[in-house]
């Protein structure tokens, strides 16, 4: 019962944030001399107008879903994982390396890629977990540093071992057999770059949700996140849970890396931290750290990202407006935490005040009538 109430409240909060974000976007369009209705029409049309566009929206959303899940999962254990970008790079590197090294039938190769990127990301992220558990190094600092370590690892390994035929700054293209893109899906969506990653994402949304709600593991992780001291006093091994939580978060981000580098794209570039790693924080925030909330938020962001080019082509509105809308939504989602914290107070005040006013009014009306 209580959980349902919570979900409903979270939904309203996120909905409210999106509404205000869109409103801010509308004001921005109007101020720059454009028609907001036209702008939004093309923005959403760009993401939804045909099956190909819908496919692209989902393809854009896929790495965001994983990055968001990663942040949300760690957050349930009270950890702030800012290392999504680095974990995606390592996951992507594992996937690319496997794809370029082995010449195997597609099903076997893809299975190896999935597990390779999952394990790579998990190991990468468990290092900050270990540092936190053993030496109490704050995970925000260590995950950010791990991002840059990953960045330079890619910088070294890709040109050294997987150099592309033309450019020093990118890897070879992965072979057809190693790509998450499959012909039937591409055809189904009319040539979109949608790939198997979206199914993986849905599977892992379900798995994350099950772990958190149904398993003793999820129970432990959340207990540690809500109250570390009580969890410890109850005999729960806090340090083990911190490492485990980071490893799972890293595994999710690593998979996100695979869907990005061997699904959405087909090679790796050096010198770039994937922005999805950071957007994952916003996705988790808007999705209220619940797996299905993350899914919805990521698809919405995917929609805006896909539609903004079309909006720009059809109107004079610059594509940056879409980014501004996203930023504003994040802003309102973040401040909605404040609203939520005082939610009960706000409700009470309104209720009591309304009640009082109603009573006074009716009293006044009553006495007035008598006179």
């Amino acid at each position: 019962m209580k959980t349902k109430v919570r979900v409903k409240k979270d939904f309203y909060m996120s909905f409210f944030a999106i509404l205000l974000g869109l409103l801010a976007g509308a004001v921005l369009m109007a101020v720059t001399g454009n028609n907001p209705f036209e702008g939004f029409f093309y923005l959403f049309r760009g993401g939804l107008m045909n099956i190909e566009r819908i496919g692209n929206t989902l393809a854009t959303a896929t790495p965001l879903i994983f990055a968001g899940l990663s942040v949300a999962f760690a957050f349930k254990t009270g950890l702030f994982n800012i290392g999504g970008a680095g974990q995606m790079l390592i996951g992507g590197l594992c996937a690319t390396a496997i794809g370029l090294t082995f010449d195997l039938p597609k099903p076997i190769l893809l299975t190896m890629i999935v597990f390779g990127s999952l394990i790579g990301g998990a190991l990468w992220a468990s290092l900050p977990g270990l540092l936190k558990a053993r030496f109490n190094v704050h995970e925000v600092v260590s995950t950010i540093m791990m991002n840059w370590i990953a960045y330079w690892v890619i910088y070294y390994i890709v040109p050294q071992y997987f150099k592309g035929p033309f450019l020093e700054t990118e890897s070879q293209r992965i072979p057809e057999a190693a790509s998450l893109k499959v012909p039937w899906l591409t055809e189904l969506f009319n040539g979109s770059y949608i790939n198997l990653g979206i199914f993986l994402a849905i599977i892992f949304v379900v798995i994350s949700s099950l772990i958190l709600e149904r398993t003793t593991l999820g129970y432990e992780l959340k207990a540690v996140g809500y109250n570390r001291d009580a969890a410890e006093a109850a005999g729960i091994n806090v340090n083990r849970n911190i490492v485990l939580s980071m490893a799972i978060a890293g595994a999710l981000a690593g998979l996100g890396g695979a869907t990005f580098y061997v699904g959405f794209a087909s090679n790796m570039q050096i010198g770039v931290l994937p922005s999805q790693g950071f957007d994952g924080i916003a996705v988790a925030l808007l999705g209220a750290n619940s797996p299905w909330g993350v899914f919805a938020a990521a698809v919405f962001f995917g929609l805006l990202h896909t539609g903004k080019g079309f909006m720009n082509a059809m109107t004079a509105i610059p594509p940056e407006v879409a980014d501004t809308i996203i930023a504003t939504i994040i802003y309102f989602a973040a401040t909605s935490v404040l609203i939520e914290r005082n939610w009960d107070k706000i409700k009470k005040i309104n209720f009591a005040a309304l009640l009082n006013r109603g009573k006074k009014d009716s009293l006044k009306a009553g006495s007035g009538g008598e006179q």
Binding site: T215, T216, A223, A233, A234, G235, I236, A352
Partner: protein, 507 residues
């Protein structure tokens, strides 16, 4: 004598509850009037109405014979009403003077004139024997001193009617005595005091009259000299309260817990525990008495496993457990009612049912192969809240945060006792609870004993130790002062031992 405060037919409703149900409340000038009731009875709401923080839905307030409307605390101040809240409202990095003048700073040539203010504070402090240094910073002074600053704050504003909300909750016994003296000197200077409390003994020793509130209704106003603690308790709770616990003869059996020369280094320059030896037998309650901070927390943490001992042994059933993990100790039958229920006892954002399985969620029947069995968890929780009288608005699916303090504590006691432990380490098990809940928890602890289980009771309330224990160990400076039989000792002897005097030394 005329009434200085008359509150007539005060009614205040909040969504879902009636906090004040047509309350009549009168205070005479120059008296100490206690307002007694259990947690949530409506005492604080009534006083917040008098102080202008809430507006009543109906009813009237008559001050010094004149009907008044107190719209906000500033008006209350102007009318000579002052309030010391349970949680002090002080700015910690301000000095005493700065805190007191906050809101009505005297100025001279656009500068805050702290000098004249502090001399006036010095004068007030002297007159009422408050011993407050106007130049000290709040963060540097003791809790008792902070309370006296709050008192001066009222006096500085020329308050005549002083409301104290649970003033002794945060004080040591010595500070309580000092506060009593201060209150009497305030009365001598013509002030009137309203004292909100749920402690009966305080009322008997300080107050002149007492109004009892239960479920938002006035049960009655009595003169303290014509009543007794038992009668007040009955009025407050609504039924007879058993002060003399139904305590049978203890039948101690074999020793279950033995501490052998246990040494734990103190944290932050504390005393720690020095070569401490103590045995607890099955079927008895051993009380550990001592002034706060004399090694009790080190002892508790070492026994339940939060801290590794630096020397000595902890034997449970004759087996050394000092290197076992917390979980292994729990599985061997050690239960723990922690001192701080919010920090160590409950996960407040978990529901009641989730909190009940905090220590055994990983075992059947609550889970199998890593999957939680929600149906069993729900049924188990339903049974425990019934067995232990945990009252919660939304039953077992309410968050632990939404429960009242007493019910949170009952939930912890329920969880720990329901696990059928061999040894129960109960630390301040009734801290901050009202009479009904205290009585209930005491009964449960005795039941444990009568069933042949061992209880180690650590409490700062000497009464609780004396009432419940079969044997009392006194700790001072991290060392064992002595062990006495509860039947053969009294408050005086224990008090002396708590100050470090060996038994018999005083005689």
């Amino acid at each position: 004598m005329d009434y200085i405060v008359e509150m007539n037919n005060i009614r205040k409703e909040f969504p879902g509850i009636v906090a004040c149900d047509d309350i009549d409340f009168q205070v005479k000038k120059g008296e100490i009037h206690a307002l007694l009731g259990e947690n949530g009875a409506g005492k604080s709401t009534l006083m917040n109405i008098l102080f202008g923080l809430y507006q009543p839905d109906s009813g009237s307030i008559v001050l010094r014979g004149k009907k008044t409307n107190i719209a906000n605390p500033n008006i209350a101040n102007d009318l000579g009403i002052g309030m010391v809240h349970q949680h002090f409202k002080l700015v910690h990095n301000f000095t005493v003077t700065e805190n007191i003048i906050l809101g009505l700073e005297p100025t001279r040539a656009l500068m805050v004139d702290t000098r004249s203010a502090s001399s006036r504070i010095r004068e007030l402090s002297k007159r009422y024997n408050l011993n407050v240094n106007p130049d000290a910073k709040i963060e540097d002074v003791s809790v008792g001193m902070q309370q006296r600053v709050e008192i001066i704050k009222m006096l500085y504003r020329d308050a005549e009617i002083l409301i104290f909300d649970e003033p002794t909750a945060v004080l040591t016994p010595q500070e309580v005595q000092e506060l009593t003296k201060i209150m009497h000197s305030l009365i001598d200077e013509g002030k009137t005091i309203i004292l909100i409390t749920h402690k009966l003994r305080e009322i008997m020793s300080i107050a002149d009259r007492c109004t009892v509130i239960r479920w938002g209704k006035v049960i009655g106003t009595v003169s303290v000299s014509e009543t007794s603690e038992e009668k007040l308790a009955e009025m407050m709770v609504g039924r007879k309260v058993i002060f003399d616990l139904d305590k049978k003869e203890a039948r101690p059996k074999e020793e279950i817990l033995s501490l052998e020369k246990l040494t734990v280094n103190g944290k932050d320059g504390g005393h720690g525990l020095k070569s401490f030896s103590l045995g607890v037998k099955c079927g008895e309650i051993v009380g550990l008495a001592g002034v706060d901070g004399n090694g009790q927390s080190e002892l508790i943490e070492a026994v339940i496993g939060l801290r590794k001992p630096d020397g000595g042994k902890i034997l449970l059933h004759g087996e050394d457990i000092s290197n076992l993990s917390i979980r292994e100790r729990i599985e061997k039958g050690v239960a723990h009612i922690p001192e701080d229920r919010h920090k160590h006892g409950l996960v407040l954002d978990y529901t009641v049912q989730e909190n009940f399985i905090l220590k055994n969620y990983y075992q059947p029947p609550f889970s199998a192969r890593g999957l939680l069995n929600w149906d069993t968890i729900y049924e188990h929780a339903e049974r425990v809240i019934k067995d232990f009288d945990v009252r919660s608005g939304q039953g077992v699916e309410a968050s632990a945060r939404s429960l009242s303090g007493g019910n949170q504590q009952k939930a912890i006691v329920g969880r720990e006792i329901d696990g059928n432990p061999d040894l129960l380490v109960a630390v301040q098990p009734t801290r901050g609870l009202d009479v009904g809940a205290i009585e209930y928890i005491h009964q449960r602890l005795l039941e444990q004993r009568d069933q042949g289980k061992a209880v180690l009771l650590i409490s700062l309330e000497l009464d609780e130790i004396l009432d419940l224990s079969d044997r009392i160990a006194v700790i001072y400076n991290g060392e064992l002062v002595g062990i006495v039989d509860a039947d053969e000792t009294d408050e005086n002897e224990i008090g002396l031992m708590m100050a470090g005097g060996k038994r018999g030394a005083a005689v």
